[in-house]
């Protein structure tokens, strides 16, 4: 929605761009040589500073949302689980199913529990036949960590978690370190 005068530049009488002067005053930058001696710039600085005091107080005033908003949103989010997206579980009475996001959350939690590693993307695919799966993980690692050693441990952990907690045997686990973080 373009308003009239949107692009126009307002000049102070001395020829300076008024918006830039106000910006600098607002940012707390000291006036330059011209601005110190120019009555128009000085006035603009004073105006900006005076307004800024009240604006700053408004900006730090705490205004918190009622907890009902988040509660309502999460209720709606949880009420529609993505049950169509499932993995197969072996059973002598015919295959059962495991929601893929739930499975991914279990494997991510296993990775998160390891020192210096945080799971990001976790994709689980069952190429078939049977329930054996391939897992592709992206992780963020702590700066300075021995990546080769840590990646090998993550692989072991994921294999174990998938077997013990999910009951989904894995064929391969591919891990990509995509980010580093510093403590």
């Amino acid at each position: 929605m373009a308003a009239v005068g949107d692009g126009a530049i307002e000049l102070l009488v001395c020829g300076r761009d008024a918006a830039l002067v106000w910006d600098r005053a607002e940012a707390g930058r000291p006036p330059d040589e011209h601005e110190r001696s120019c009555p128009y710039c000085t006035a603009a600085y004073a105006e900006a500073a005076r307004l800024d005091v009240a604006v700053h107080r408004m900006a730090v005033e705490p205004v918190d949302p009622p907890p009902s908003v988040l509660a309502s949103v999460m209720g709606a989010v949880r009420a529609a689980p993505r049950l169509a997206d499932t993995l197969l579980l072996d059973s002598p009475l015919g295959p059962n199913r495991l929601a893929r996001p739930a499975a991914a959350a279990v494997l991510r939690a296993a990775v998160d529990a390891m020192d210096g590693m945080r799971a990001r993307s976790c994709r689980i695919e069952q190429p078939g036949p049977g329930t054996t799966a391939d897992v592709t993980l992206t992780v963020a690692a702590r700066f300075g960590l021995d990546l080769a050693g840590a990646t090998a441990r993550v692989r072991q952990t994921v294999f174990a978690a998938s077997e013990q907690v999910l009951g989904v045997p894995l064929r391969r686990v591919d891990i990509e370190v995509v980010d580093l973080w510093e403590t």
Binding site: L89, L93, G94, N96, A103, A109
Partner: protein, 89 residues
């Protein structure tokens, strides 16, 4: 004495299935549905607690529901269990 016909509504069968699923320790039943035709197909969605094996629990629920329906309803149904969520520590 003449023949007795037992008629059980789909909802009642679903309730039976849900109760049988709940009998497995730790299981929280989210939903239970019966599709009666052509062969009875029962879908049960569950949540399971931390640490338990999803495949094993799903199979245990499947056994419990299958047995209960055979005993109380007198029909053999295909039962499919979906683990919708795993409680995380």
């Amino acid at each position: 004495m003449g023949d007795v016909t037992l008629h059980v509504t789909d909802t009642a069968v679903a309730s039976m299935a849900a109760a049988a699923a709940r009998a497995v320790p730790g299981v929280v039943v989210l939903s239970a549905e019966l599709a009666p035709d052509p062969e009875p197909f029962v879908r049960v969605a569950i949540m399971i607690p931390t640490g338990d094996n999803c495949r094993d629990i799903a199979a245990a629920v499947q056994r419990s529901v299958t047995r209960t329906l055979a005993e109380q309803w007198g029909r053999s149904a295909t039962v499919e269990v979906t683990v919708a969520e795993v409680a995380l520590p």
